[in-house]
């Protein structure tokens, strides 16, 4: 029964994608100017020709490593900050102006500031890190605050140590907060990281390719690289969430 429903959903999704591609193809044909709107067929052709270019995989590797490094740093540091703020209210108050600033300042302002402060090579990592940090921090802190007080009292009575408290009480309660935060933060890490590469014109990155597409009006390149970014972002999100879910499943079997 579940399998039939899942197959039906898949068919429905495929049908909607086919419909969107059809609308895109018709629109491009009606516009009749590939500079303004390129056809999906032309994008696919360009995508295949990109595979054969020498720096295709190095550009992907460069952007992937930098953005993922920024995301992971944001995850680790945001979680640590949330743990400290959850334990010490004073730390939460001290962190507040930094988190509020990062949340409200436009990403473009940060990118330009960072171009002054940092090398271009580290720009996308740092911007991804900055965008991920407040999301992880806020979600994890909320999760820590909503930890079941009665379970913590139980741990106090039985004198349960910190490590066991983390494994048995905090982590299971943080699971939904962590998954939701990672899911939102990953998409944002990719968007902001690529934006930083475009504005900073980082050598050998996907952002540089997008910048070149803008300079030379190669709309097919723009669409092809955008498609690659979307595929990378979704694949990494699915892989990372799979790993997190597996981690929690193993934890619960302890």
């Amino acid at each position: 029964m579940i399998s039939t429903t899942s197959n039906k959903n898949r068919i429905e999704k495929l049908a909607s994608v086919a419909f969107a591609l059809f609308v895109w193809q018709i629109s491009a044909m009606l516009v009749g100017e590939s500079l303004l709107l390129v056809t999906p067929i032309a994008v696919v052709k360009r995508l295949f020709s990109l595979f054969t270019e020498a720096d295709f995989f190095t550009s992907i590797g460069y952007s992937f490593l930098h953005i993922v490094a920024g995301f992971l740093s944001g995850l680790v540091i945001g979680s640590l900050m949330a743990a400290i703020a959850g334990k010490f209210h004073l730390a939460e108050i001290m962190f507040w102006p930094f988190i509020a600033t990062i949340k409200s300042v436009p990403v473009a302002s940060f990118i330009i500031l960072c171009l002054i402060w940092l090398s271009k090579g580290n720009l996308s990592s740092f911007i991804s890190f900055l965008m991920v940090l407040p999301i992880i921090y806020s979600n994890i802190l909320q999760g820590i605050k909503s930890t079941d007080k009665k379970l913590l009292e139980m741990a106090d009575v039985f004198r349960v140590g910190l490590l066991r408290r983390i494994i048995f009480i905090y982590l299971p309660q943080l699971k939904p907060y962590l998954i939701s935060a990672c899911s939102v933060a990953m998409g944002l890490a990719w968007k902001s990281g690529i934006a930083a590469e475009v504005i900073g014109i980082t050598n050998g990155s996907i952002g540089e390719k997008l910048y070149e597409a803008k300079i030379y009006y190669t709309t097919a390149d723009l669409f092809a690289w955008t498609l690659i970014i979307v595929v990378l972002s979704i694949s990494f999100e699915k892989l990372f969430l799979y790993i997190i879910k597996k981690f929690f499943a193993r934890l619960e079997r302890l």
Binding site: K150, L151, E153, M154, V157, F158, V160, F168, P172, E252
Partner: protein, 198 residues
């Protein structure tokens, strides 16, 4: 040395729950705290467990190492029964011993399942085994046999009686038969002033 409770008082706003309550709880024996609903039994046990502070009065002679069956089960829901017990046990207690204790009160099946998937009665028994196997000098039990059918209740009471010999145990209950079955001292708490005559 017995536990001495002297003139313990506790209020929540204008609601006086304990009013200068005094009692002596003997060491290495089971003591039942009985009384009608709302007389302050759970508040008293929470103060003794250190989960609540008294407004006035004093408690002396309380051991440091405590163990408890709370009014609610307070189990880690996504973990199985054995993991929940292991959480509070010393490392020297092996899984086989935990399985054997769980089996003693009829918990043999579904032990690999997260406790959230177990019935209320099964979860209650996991909480009882957890309290028994934790290293402690005093065990608090707040209505430990709540929600168990007669047969299981009898088995669980026998298990508690067998495993708490020469230990200081405080059991909160409404049921005099539980006190008779396990045996021990009985302290009866009266109604609060505010509830008298209602």
């Amino acid at each position: 040395m017995s536990i001495v409770i002297s003139e313990l008082s506790k209020s929540f706003g204008e609601n006086i729950v304990l009013n200068k309550f005094s009692a002596n709880i003997p060491e290495n024996k089971t003591t039942f705290i009985m009384g009608p609903s709302g007389c302050g039994k759970t508040t008293l046990i929470n103060i003794l467990m250190g989960l609540m502070r008294e407004d006035s009065g004093a408690v002396t002679g309380l051991p440091t190492n405590k163990s408890a069956v709370f009014q609610e089960d307070r189990l880690c829901e996504s973990f199985n029964a054995v993991s929940n017990v292991r959480l509070v046990c010393e490392k020297k207690i092996k899984d086989e011993e935990i399985y054997s204790h769980l089996a003693e009160i009829g918990l043999r099946d579904d032990l690999a399942k997260p406790v959230i998937e177990l019935s209320g009665g099964m979860r209650r028994r996991v909480a009882v085994v957890r309290a028994i196997l934790a290293k402690s000098d005093i065990i608090f039990m707040d209505e430990p046999f709540k929600g168990l059918d007669d047969n299981t209740k009898e088995k669980t009471m026998q298990y508690v009686a067998d495993n708490t010999k020469n230990k200081t145990v405080i059991i909160v209950t409404h049921d005099i038969d539980e006190a008779k079955a396990i045996g021990g001292e009985i302290i009866t708490m009266g109604l609060r002033e505010s509830d008298r005559g209602q």
